[in-house]
Symmetry: C2
Subunit: 138 residues, 2 copies
DNA sequence: TCCTACAATGGACAATGTCTAAGTCAAGCA
DNA sequence: TGCTTGACTTAGACATTGTCCATTGTAGGA
């Protein structure tokens, strides 16, 4: 995360308290917060930070490729700081818990030309759904 | 589609003009409309239909398993009437065009136990992204 | 230290979706 | 065919998520 801040500064990102706080909130494994959750946690560290700033900063982090937008949940976008290691997601259909997963195989190779409709296919996103241990035992 | 109406009636669904219109709008291959688009087309056929009814009806069709909710786009949910043939989606990153695709292989088998975190995995959703021929030539 | 371009603010606005109370009607039944 | 009833529809208020803009603040260089 200090890594992240260093990288950002190296890219000429102007460092402000607000941006630092947002970057700090987005640290860790299996972190997938909504913009609103990011805002709530940022406010805990820096009470006067505004919603617009959180949205702006998240948008910039996404453009810079430092954070991924994930749409596992159909309501709000979630932000995944694990952008430098390709991965997919496993989502609990009941409680919404999300884990990063690394399936074997290459789904891109599984799409025959006849199924590409002339598209240039550049990326694939896989979302597994199921029930997490907590919800299964409940 | 008459098929769809028959199936619904068979399940004890009370048939109304509004529901028929919504079902009619959602007919065809590679159809992936947002709730708002469904509403707009439904209004063309039945001007007094309300937004709430469209949402309700779409929700019921999804519960009944006759229509799938798709979240390819990060703004609005889309509704896919092609619910009886499993398939995945190919999305144009530029214009949002969506095609139904049928990759070979079984992504479920590609998720090792060690990557399942104790979840019971029941389903997988694959979204390919790329550029469609139209956007590529533009 | 001062300047200036870039960032943050907050509040209005937009898009999407949900809820409720009241009116309406499809379908079964006499 | 004409009731009856409970399910369906409606309009609009409300909620949530996200965007925009004019103004104010400030990081970082000269």
């Amino acid at each position: 995360m200090s890594d992240l801040l260093e990288r950002l500064r190296g890219r000429g990102w102007r460092m402000t308290a607000q941006r630092r706080v947002v970057a700090e909130v987005l640290d860790g494994e299996h972190v997938h917060l909504t913009a609103d959750e990011v805002h709530a946690r940022a406010v805990a560290k820096l009470p006067e930070i505004s919603r617009a700033t959180v949205y702006n900063t998240l948008g910039e982090l996404v453009s810079l490729g430092e954070v991924l937008e994930v749409a596992t949940d159909k309501r709000a976008k979630r932000y995944d700081p694990n952008a430098h290691q390709p991965h997919h997601h496993l989502v609990c259909a009941r409680c919404g818990a999300i884990r990063d997963v690394h399936p074997t195989g290459n789904p891109l190779a599984d799409l025959p030309d006849s199924e590409r409709f002339g598209f240039t296919v550049s990326d694939v996103e896989v979302t597994y759904r199921g029930t997490c241990p907590n919800c299964a035992s409940a």
